[in-house]
Symmetry: C2
Amino acid sequence: MKKYSKSKINRIKRGQNRAVYEVEKINTILDAGFIGFVSYTYEGSAISLPMAYGRNGNKIYLHGSQANRMLLSLLEGGKMSMTVMHLDALVLARSGLHHSVNYRSATLFGSVRKIEKATEKEAALHCFMEQMMKGRWDGIRPMKPEELSRTLVVEMAIETASAKIRDVGVNDDSEDYNLPIWAGLVPLKQVALAPISDENLRENIPIPSHVLEYYKLHQ
Amino acid sequence: MKKYSKSKINRIKRGQNRAVYEVEKINTILDAGFIGFVSYTYEGSAISLPMAYGRNGNKIYLHGSQANRMLLSLLEGGKMSMTVMHLDALVLARSGLHHSVNYRSATLFGSVRKIEKATEKEAALHCFMEQMMKGRWDGIRPMKPEELSRTLVVEMAIETASAKIRDVGVNDDSEDYNLPIWAGLVPLKQVALAPISDENLRENIPIPSHVLEYYKLHQ
């Protein structure tokens, strides 16, 4: 299985038993969501902001307005880092120290470029939309050329990455197992509720199958 | 209502109609979760990592091992920024450009200090644990002095902050409302599943009420 090579920037130091470098496993974490925390430096401060993204191979696509402060700053610096995390359970131990969470978290590092060509921009936005909801792109009005030119699209080429996964039960100190204290997991899950049609919807437009499918998959 | 004053670092530039500066509203966003994305600079790169936190007034508490690279780097720099986000709905418009999400996101900026005194450390960890699950602290084994000394506790004093909230329906271009395209929201929610007792649990320990209460509150 292809792996990202370990370097100073992506090597997991704490909790090495949870460290993941396999490209496929990291892609699985990325594809389980569409919101990442993108980091940049502003006035000497590191800041991270949530951004929707799309992934295609080793490319990550972000977009925003042509005046987006973060995207412009990333383009100026030429590199970027993004972290994606899914929270899977509270791990409730017998002692405070062994409380934890089960999670899947991936941090990517790479270089960025601005996408200028309209056809490439459209392909990136297609990828972006499909990451949010499979099948949505074909169900909506095609983009207009002026919409494409108003949109700033940034492509990140993933150069290295690492992930951490915790997916096990409680791990207490051996002498604590005899304590009369409850320990266990509380699984957490992000679910979709029933779709709500826009109040200004034209009559007789049913909820399309790609939306119902998403709803069904996120129960 | 008390507000954070706007400065270069926390002023919302894009989507000002969604901007929030009220301290109470920002605290409500912080208290709806316990995982934040903490940013720091490593080898010239801005990185953000998910961290569990506790809030007490304008203080945020983080902890880790005494060798935690990020915490040590924050202490060295003396300042920190953290972003917390809750995803509330997919906003599915008739055009690609108006697709969005409903969300609550807060970004904090402040100074950090290491907590050294054992009693202060314990108070910070109590706050931290209660942020994850109300009532848990009283249900577990008290911390040992050696556990306290193995743990690095960092306090952030929030100096300024801002938030963005989108909580409305679809907002399409007026000429698109006549298109035969479905538009609407798909609400998203993080829920708890039924608690799973540790397989090594002593016999006859029922799931405590603070755990059942959490489960009930997160349906």
